[in-house]
């Protein structure tokens, strides 16, 4: 006969505190992983933004030790400044024309590179050529185009040789043309990003959709309008909104090409704000202007986030 000895189990620990400890630890785990990022975001983004917002409600900030609360005075000053309103108008023209042109050029070139009518080698060559402007830094782009557009530069020489113009055009020095010229340069430098993104979108459209459209008797235009565009719609909307946001923050190109001139004809919200801060040392008014820009950008960001959620 065998006997089975069963050890008496140790007395169980009280369950409730352990569970609480585990639950707390579990809850803290994600925050532990996130903490480096959270700290960086707070230090590098939240704190500066809060500081700029607080500056915008004060007077004589930074340059004087005892700044005073000014309420909305800085906002009133900025929003009634004719130069700000001119900069707002210029920025609107600059970003909308740039975005539309980026979209049309990007889509056109992407469709060409996605076409079955071209050989692989031809496509590769064009892909390199089309993407080139994207590879230059803004400083290089500004210098190159300033040289090309000089009244004695290559552009005038070519146009005069071809008989398009009789006298050299002062492209950047003429208040009537300067805004359109810097917009053109911005379009030139920015379309490749659209092209690459839309090309990726085009390559993701299933061939069956086009085959089905062909079976239904659709012509190329109908295929483009009823298959390509609806399939690309999420990419187009995302890119358009992002481009509006990015272009509204374009500073270096304008600063290096025209500095906002001549006669404020290319003044943008970014250059206007910079001049207030670093030339006039009016950091409070510059902060108010920056907050207005932030709010306008947030409207665009809101549409972007909403569109992303819908996807």
């Amino acid at each position: 006969m065998t006997s089975l000895t069963v050890e008496k189990p140790p007395p169980a620990e009280p369950e409730a505190p352990t569970r609480t400890k585990n639950t707390l630890a579990k809850r803290l785990v994600p925050w532990g992983y996130l903490s480096p990022t959270v700290v960086l975001i707070v230090l590098l983004m939240v704190v500066p933004i809060i500081m700029v917002i607080s500056y915008s409600f004060r007077d004589n900030v930074i340059v004087q030790e005892n700044s005073v609360f000014a309420g909305f005075a800085n906002y009133t000053e900025v929003l009634t400044d004719p130069d700000f309103l001119a900069a707002l108008k210029n920025t609107f023209i600059f970003i909308t024309v740039s975005m539309v042109a980026h979209l049309l050029l990007g889509l056109g070139f992407a469709m060409m590179l996605n076409s079955g009518m071209l050989s692989g080698v031809t496509k590769a060559i064009f892909r390199v050529v089309y993407v080139l402007p994207w590879l230059f830094t803004i400083a290089v782009i500004a210098v190159i185009w300033r040289l090309l557009l000089d009244p004695s530069g290559v552009v005038n020489y070519v146009l005069q040789t071809l008989g398009v113009i009789s006298d050299g055009v002062n492209w950047l020095g003429d208040p009537g043309s300067a805004l359109w010229v810097v917009t053109f340069v911005n379009i030139w430098s920015g379309y490749p990003f659209f092209m690459i993104s839309l090309l990726a979108g085009l390559q993701g459209i299933p061939g069956e959709l086009y085959e089905a459209a062909s079976v239904d008797g659709a012509n190329p235009w109908q295929k483009f309008w009823n298959v390509t565009i609806p399939q690309l719609r999420p990419v187009i909307i995302s890119m358009a909104v992002l481009d509006l946001i990015w272009t509204s923050q374009q500073f270096a190109l304008i600063w290096m090409m025209t500095g906002g001139g001549p006669l404020n004809s290319t003044e943008m919200l970014s250059t206007f704000t910079y001049k207030l801060a670093f030339s006039e040392y009016e950091f409070a008014t510059a902060s108010a202007s920056a907050v207005v820009v932030l709010l306008l950008t947030m409207i665009l960001a809101f549409f972007y986030v909403r569109q992303q959620r819908e996807r």
Partner: protein
């Protein structure tokens, strides 16, 4: 399971510790210890001079200082002019300026009013420094805030080949002679113009160097008792003169967005016959166009003017941060750079004129033009009324915008000057 739990706890601990260290590091970054255990003090010196000097030459001068002062180390923070300016503007705002700072006279008023730069008069007194050897000091309310270390004058550059081609046998000395020469050079054709006038508003120093220089060359002033005086006949005659040159079509096209470097480029490539420019660009012009025959001369004055001519200048100035914990050591560095020997060495390297009156720059290895320019400098007087003014860049920009309106026919000279006067009056109180 227990092991996993333990390592997870350790990971969270490590992440949290790293995060706290990061946060503390970010918050305490400005308080790094600059005194070594052996008592050696490290000074930070921000300037744009080193990149503009022959490679390594400024380090050599600083090494000489460190050898003479073994308890002081100098950490050079060197960058281009524009980025140094931005760095100093933000540093002044946050009271984190480096101990010693390279200064442009145009920044002094604003930095001094912010309390960002120290009163050098006091430091000179503490160090028993003999200030009589200084060629100039930039003062505000009787206190010195900046000492010009090296001065760069802006004479008239003339392309002699173009002048000869245009049939002008004498370098212009008066406004009438200049206008005549500019017209004749323009008449030679081939897209060549008489003069380059950079009026880009991003860096509006064309107003100081290329417009107001005409005023100072004739002994005029844009200030009266420290207040703006832009509606005087003297200033009006300058603007009318510039407008007359523009109306005559002798100014290179694109001037409304032309930058200083475009001006030099146009002169170097023979697209313009004359320009007012920094002497420091002589080497650049000769490097890029070795065959170009050009001369320098004082900026033309009003017809019949016989007084001393003001010659525009820019400086490499030096100051000490008010927030520096080592002002005495910082001033030792200032003293060293203003010493006759070091100052002459620096001026020779920079192709400028020394800030110490007793320093003798060595022109033996330089272009003969520098010696000629030194004579022009000594015969006239350095003139730059923007030095020491508040928001001087903004003053130049507002005048620039009004001048652009005049040149494009959108404003009369009187209206433009009256608006500039109002704008300046709101800044210079």
């Amino acid at each position: 399971m227990a092991i996993r739990k333990a390592s997870r706890t350790r990971l969270i601990g490590a992440l949290t510790a790293a995060t706290v260290a990061l946060a503390l590091g970010a918050c305490g970054g400005g308080d790094s210890d600059d005194v070594a255990s052996d008592g050696t003090v490290t000074l930070e010196f921000a300037q744009w001079w080193a990149p503009e000097l022959p490679a390594g030459s400024f380090d050599k001068i600083i090494n000489e200082f460190q050898t003479a002062n073994p308890t002081i180390k100098v950490k050079l923070l060197s960058g281009p002019y524009a980025s140094t300016k931005q760095q100093l503007v933000t540093g002044a705002a946050s009271k984190t300026l480096p101990d010693v700072v390279g200064l442009d006279g145009a920044w002094v008023n604003d930095f001094a009013k912010q309390g960002a730069i120290a009163d050098l008069t006091e430091l000179m007194g503490d160090a028993n420094y003999d200030a009589s050897q200084l060629a100039s000091q930039i003062q505000l309310e009787g206190k010195t805030y900046m000492i010009p270390v090296v001065n760069f004058v802006y004479p008239l550059f003339v392309n002699q080949d173009l002048l000869t081609k245009a049939g002008v046998d004498k370098v212009p000395s008066t406004r009438t002679e200049f206008a005549d020469a500019a017209k004749k050079i323009t008449a030679t054709g081939g897209n060549v113009k008489g003069w380059a006038l950079p009026l880009d508003t991003a860096v509006p120093n064309g107003i100081q160097n290329d417009v107001m220089s005409w005023l100072w060359a004739s002994g005029g002033s844009m200030l009266a008792d420290g207040k703006p005086a832009l509606t005087t006949p003297q200033v009006k005659s300058v603007v009318e003169y510039v407008k007359s040159l523009n109306d005559a079509g002798v100014i290179a096209e694109g001037s409304l967005t032309m930058k200083e470097q475009d001006k030099v480029e146009k002169f170097t490539t023979g697209q313009v016959g004359m320009m007012i420019d920094s002497l420091a660009h002589i080497n650049l012009v000769k490097e890029n166009a070795p065959d170009l025959k050009f001369a320098i001369a004082p900026v033309p004055a009003e017809d019949g003017f016989t007084g001393k001519r003001g010659i525009p200048y820019a400086s490499w100035g030096i100051g000490v941060a008010n927030s520096s914990k080592h002002k005495a050591e910082a001033f030792k560095l200032v003293q060293f750079l203003m010493d006759a020997k070091a100052n002459a060495e620096l001026a020779t390297l920079a192709n400028g004129f020394p800030g110490n009156k007793t320093a003798k720059p060595d022109f033996s290895k330089s272009d003969p033009m520098f010696e000629e320019a030194f004579k022009i400098y000594q015969e006239g007087f350095p003139a730059n009324e923007f030095v020491g003014l508040p928001k001087s860049e903004d003053l130049m920009r507002s005048f620039d915008e009004q001048l652009q309106l005049v040149l494009t026919g959108k404003s009369s000279v009187d209206d433009a000057l009256s608006k500039s006067q109002d704008s300046w009056s709101s800044v210079i109180e």
